[in-house]
Structures are given as C-alpha cells and as structure tokens.
Symmetry: C2
Subunit: 438 residues, 2 copies
C-alpha cells in the first residue's frame, strides 16, 4: 500500500472540538483527504472556559484559530459551516454553506447544556458551554457589581451581589472557587469592601455530595476548602424554577439573586436528532463499541456526542473525547484498508478539579492528591495540553501573574449587543444584511 493510497478518500470531520481535532490530525497523517467543518473558526479549550467567565483569562487565550491548527497539514481543509443535516444514503453532510460529500464521516459536535426542563432555566440561567456564554456571564457579573454600586435599596443590592451556581460537578466547583477569588481580590480593590464584601457565592447541588466521579475524600476536601473560601454550599438543593430575580428550591425556599450559572448537566446537540441516526441516552448518538453508528459503518461518532449502549459510561471529558476521536480515526483507516475495526477501550487518566490558587483535588487510580500538589499537577496537565505555543505562553504568564500578584489581567465588560453599535459577526445566513439597532 503506497503512501498516497488514501489521498482520494474523503473523510469529513464535523466539529473542531477535542475529538474532531485529534481525529483530523491522525487522519491527515495517514494521508486521507480530510475536511473539518465547524460553525466557529476556532477550537475552544473548554477546560479553562470557567476562567474566562471569572475574568481570569481573555477569550483569545483559550481559543485557537482552526486554520492555524491545520496550517501545517495540506490535506486538511477547513470549512466554517454549521451542520444542518445528513443524507446518509447520498453520503452527504448538509451545512448552511452547502453540501459536503464524504466517504467516511466522523460526527463530533459535542454537547449542549441540559436544563432538564426546569422552568425559566433556559431563559434566565447562564450556560457555561461556549466562549460566547463565558463572556456573557463575565459581563453580567461585572455589570451586577456596577449596578450594585449605584443601588441604594439593600434588598436590590443583595440580589445583585448574590451569585448562584447550579451544579456541584467539576465545572461548578471550579467556577465557584474562581468567582470567590475574583471577588476577594480584584473586585474588592475596585469596589472597596463596601462594594464587594457583601457579595455571596452559593453552590447549589441537587445530590447529597459534590464532585460525582471523584472519591469521597476528594469531594469532602473540595467542599471544605470552598467553604473556607466563603462559598455557601447547599447539598440536596434541587432547583425547581428560575426567574429573572430569584431561584426557587424544592421545599419552597426562594433565593433572591440576579445570577444563576447553570453547570448541572449536558446532553447531545440539537442537530443530532435530525440526522436520522439512532439516538442513545441524553439525546446523544448511539454508537457501537467500534464507535460506528448502527447501520452505517462509514459514519462514526466521538466525544460528548457519542454514547455506547451497554458499555460502562465514559466521562464527557477532554481526555475521553481525544481517545475516542483517535480511535475513530484509527478505525476509519482500518476500514479503508479493508481490515476490521478495533473496539474502543477507555483508559482512565484520572480526575482533577481546582478550587483556587494552590488548591485542587486530583485522583489517579488509587492515588489521591489534595492541595498544592494537586494544583501543581493540574497546572502542569493544563499547560501541557494547551494547543499551540503562543497560547501556552500567554496562559502561563497570566496564571503566573495571578498567582504571584493576585491580580487579574483585565476586568472589562467586553463588547456585546447594545445601542452603541453593531455587534458580532454576521451569522452564516445573514451576511446579506447585518442588522444594527438604530
């Protein structure tokens, strides 16, 4: 088999997240003609998104231009296009920018926030799944402090300065800690104790413990550490309704707050339901142990989007997505060679969550780390992971500055929609007439 054997074999990778990115690189290295389609022109380093929402990192520090990632691979084409459907019989992916034909298809569109049908959640809670959402949440929190500074009514002030985080998993834990550090450091310097000491961070978890998937000891350590940082942790607090100015709990308690950050769950992306493929748990695509979709051996799915029926559940994390993406790439290569695919076997690399400067929990098999050692492990893993030399340097120096000087680089309310000007890129379909509030 010659080196150029696959140069006419078209593999389309839908999604430039961790699964898609690593699959595309592997497929390109084997010589396939790869097209990566994503509605954004950048890859988001999701594990640090909460730091954007806490004004600790800037958006561009956790995003990397897709064309920059793929520049060194001439056989990867990039298409900024939103996937709208699939015609498996014609082997064509449909997007808002036209059809893309494939011989093999890898679906890796990730997941979206699951509000579990809680009334008002979709309208009033802030998601924390996309760069847009991270910036929106940061802008909102900074705006709450500005509004509170001009509000005389104590009840209105208290609601503005009460921040609820719904969901006690890793993202909720990390965001609660980052928010306390933001308030205690930069915001106290900016607003004085009068403007910030009354601020409350509440972490609402419906279950009886934090950090499902972590050991009991680690979860207890994380909770104790967050409490010492001033986070009000409520276990068994089931949110039943969210309004613009309050969060209702099961049992009748009403928390007056203008901010509900929702980190309580994810589900398959809405597009998945329209593919005509079999769905599994949580609106994700069902896959076999070979990561193929049932009935379509040429269509693979990986990452958050995929769920294997009858297999032990695989966590929806970046390492799992990378492993799945690479296995899917390997199986596409095997099929193209006329060989049978290999089953996917998840290799657990451990769990990590960081509460603040010098404080984290980590579990690697039977080894548990807490405190500074866990934080150093976390720092090392995340820096090593960050894609691209530039991002690695920038993020490291921002962290270093934060660690040594306890100062955030910036606290801007970044551009967003408003009467001051047109905002954002024209969407895929509205280039014909970007609208502008007049």
């Amino acid at each position: 088999m010659t080196a150029g054997a696959f140069s006419q074999t078209r593999v389309v990778v839908a999604g430039a997240g961790f699964a898609g990115l690593f699959a595309a690189k592997d497929l390109a290295a084997k010589g396939f003609a790869v097209t990566v389609a994503d509605k954004r022109n950048y890859h988001t380093f999701f594990p640090l998104l909460y730091q954007v929402a806490a004004a600790e990192l800037e958006p561009e520090q956790i995003a990397y231009p897709a064309r920059g990632v793929f520049r060194s691979r001439p056989n990867i084409a990039f298409a900024m296009a939103e996937v709208t459907g699939l015609d498996a019989s014609r082997r064509v992916l449909t997007t808002d920018a036209g059809e893309i034909a494939y011989d093999y298809l890898l679906l890796a569109l990730g997941s979206e926030t699951n509000y579990f049908g809680v009334p008002g959640a979709r309208e009033h809670a802030f998601g924390l799944k996309t760069l847009n959402e991270g910036v929106a949440l940061r802008n909102h929190i900074l705006t709450c402090f500005e509004r509170a500074a001009l509000t005389a009514d104590p009840a209105a002030r208290a609601a503005l300065l009460t921040f609820t985080i719904i969901g006690g998993g890793a993202t909720g834990i990390e965001y609660a800690g980052a928010l306390r550090e933001l308030i205690k450091g930069p915001l106290t310097r900016d607003y004085g104790c009068a403007g910030s000491c009354g601020a409350k961070v509440m972490l609402l978890e419906a279950g009886s413990r934090l950090l499902p998937g972590f050991g009991d000891k680690l979860a207890a350590y994380a909770g104790e550490r967050l409490r010492r940082m001033g986070v009000d942790i409520r276990l068994g607090a089931k949110v039943t309704r969210i309004e613009a100015d309050c969060v209702h709990l099961d049992g009748g308690e009403i928390l007056k707050t203008r901010t509900a950050a929702w980190t309580a769950g994810v589900r398959g992306p809405a597009a998945a339901a329209g593919f005509g493929l079999e769905l599994g748990a949580g609106g994700r695509l069902a896959v076999t142990r070979y990561l193929q979709t049932p009935g379509h051996p040429e269509i693979f799915a990986a990452g958050d989007m995929a769920v294997a029926a009858g297999q032990p559940p695989i966590p929806m994390t970046a390492p799992a997505a990378i492993q799945e993406g690479r296995q899917a790439a390997r199986n596409i290569e095997l099929l193209a060679r006329g060989e049978p695919p290999e089953p996917f076997a998840y290799r657990d690399k451990g769990v990590m969550a960081v509460m603040g400067r010098g404080s984290a929990v980590a579990g690697f098999g039977r080894v548990s780390l807490t405190g500074l050692s866990a934080w150093l492990a976390w720092l090392f893993v995340h820096v090593a992971w960050l894609i691209g030399f530039r991002n690695r340097l920038v993020a490291l120096s921002a962290w270093a500055a934060d660690f040594f000087f306890f100062e955030r680089s910036v606290r801007l309310i970044l551009p967003g929609p408003g009467p001051g000007g047109r905002t954002g890129a024209p969407g895929p379909s509205d280039l014909s007439g970007p609208d502008r509030p007049v």
Copy 2:
C-alpha cells in the same frame, strides 16, 4: 485656602474618554469630589481602535478599566451609567441609573459617526468609533474570508473579498494599510494565495486629496505608499448609497462589495440635543473660549463634544481633547476659587498617520517626517500614551511580534450574537431579563 477646601464641591464628569479622564485626574488632584459617569466601565484608547478591527490588537489591549484608572484617587467615584439628560436648573445630570447632582459639570461624551444622510449607510456600513464596532468589523472581515473559501460563484467571491473604506482621513488611511497587511500576511498564510490574493482594499475619498489637515507632501507620500501596498485609492469618489452588497458612487459606478467601513466623519453625540444647551456645528455643544456653555458658566464641555463658535477649528484628536479637558478642569478650579477663567489656547502637537510596518507620515509644524522615522515617532508617541503599565507592555510586545515575525497574535471571530448562546452584558435597563435566542 486649605487643602480640603474643595472636598465638598461636587464636580461631575460625563464621559471617560481622553477629555474626561484627564480632567477628572486634575480635578481630583485639586481635592474636588469628582464623579465620572460613563456607559462603559472602561476607557478606550481610540487611536489604536483600527488595529482591533484589523485583528492586530485584542480589545482588552486598548481598553482600560475605569476603576483601575481611578483606584489611586479616593476622591474620584465612578458610575457606570448612561447619560440620558440634564436638568440645569436643579443642577442634576440624569442617567439610566438615577440622578447625579453637581456643582460643576463637564460634558465630554465624545462624538459619533456622521453618515451625512447617505441612504443605507447607517444600516449597512460598519462604523469604527467604538470597541464594539471594531470587533464587529473584524468579525465581519474574517467571516467574509471564510464564506469566500466556500463560495464557488466568482462574482459572489469577488464581492466577499472586496473591502471598501469610505473616508481618506487618518483613520481611513490607517485602516486601509492595516487591512492590506492583515491580508498579505496572516490571511494569505491561512487561506493560501487562492483564498486571499484576489482580495481588494479600496479607499474611497470624496475630496480631491487624502489626509486633510496634513501637508500636501505628506498626503502624496501616504497615497503613494498605500498604492504600492496594493490599496486601490479613488479620489473624488462620492458615495451616494450603500446596500448590503454594493456601494454606489456619484456618477453611477456601482462597486460590488459586502464590506463598507465608514470613517468619513463624526458629529456630536445624539444625547447632546436633549440637554437644552446651545448646539454648534455638527450637533456638538457650543462653548465659549473658556469652554463654558453659553448661559451656564458652571457647565463645561470638552473634547469632540465641544465646538467653540468664532474660533479657529480644533481637530477632533486625543491631544486636543486632553488639552481641553485639562483647561476645563483648571477653569472649574478658578471659578471655585472665585477667580475668572482662562481662555483655552490650543497647542498644535502635530499630525501623524501610519500606513504600515515601518511606514508613516508625521508633521510637526514645519518639520515633516516620512517612512521609518515617522513610524518610529508614531510608535514612541503611542506607546508613551497608552494608559497603564500593563497595557503598555502588552501592546508593545504584540507590536514587536508583529514587526519581527509579521504574525498577528490571533485571528478569532470573537463572541457575538448568534444562536450559540446569549451574548454580551445585559444592558443597564435589561438586567431584569437578559434575553437569549432559543
């Protein structure tokens, strides 16, 4: 007179631009009780805004948090509030966050884009006056390249890759040069020559020469330099109408383009008309030679917002705004002491415009610089000007990287409105229910 003589004298500064910022610092140093009100929580370093729109600087590199600027001055309070009106009889400024009472008032709300009533301009042209607009224009241009990469129709491709800049003043010149450099360097690397070499940058100037306010020799040099960089300069090109996909010129020519960046003029902000104060040319506030508004000696205006009738026109630049702001602060101090105010005398510090790396024009009185010497002067002045140590370092290193490696730090289509998530801060009045496209 004791040091604390003015501690009960309330001076309200409306606007945290160059005039307001420098006035507030001077007034605080004299011991006044100063309140600065701005609808944004940051000062924008406007002279470098075009570099944000050319993906050369990130938004946070030219913005500085107002509370950070004022942190060292305990007698400056900051209010994130949009000025909505004025009740001069009660000496009260009205804002969307309530009333602010003053003894002296400095109005320094800047200017906004003047579309001169050209049909379609407001709807379809991109302004370049605010950070929002700079990010929107950058997003749009990057999106045009992505769309062009997926467009087979040559006419549609050509329209996507034709970028018109309307107005041949300093901002238009600088943006045209920066855009050519963006296309020639990073975008050619990302899209290949096939994707970028056909891109056209057109600079449309209604008058018979570029750079009004600069000497003839400097204007000619700048034009020649831009032409060599590949900018298509059209003098005497009066825009009569703008549509989503074309720009109409006087004489009937129609340019097929999806991008019209409008740098052709400014006027007083819309709010100025509602103050009940005398208006001067271009919707700006009329002021006396003491920068006072006629009939209200306690109300001053400075910067782009102010125009002195019967005086030689003062350019709407940052140095002029700073001088006016400081003179207004000085006159407020004199009035508070019971002394007569001093007339404002503009000290011309010269003019500068930069076309690209190592290339600029500068005029200081009878001294004219072109090329590298002018560019070094420009670099020095702008770096020295940048407010805040951190911004200074970040901007300098980004420039240095650009100069030596010819690489932009990032080329992201930054968060904006779209179906992917809620965007931007809730506005002053909509904290009660941030909306989200569902």
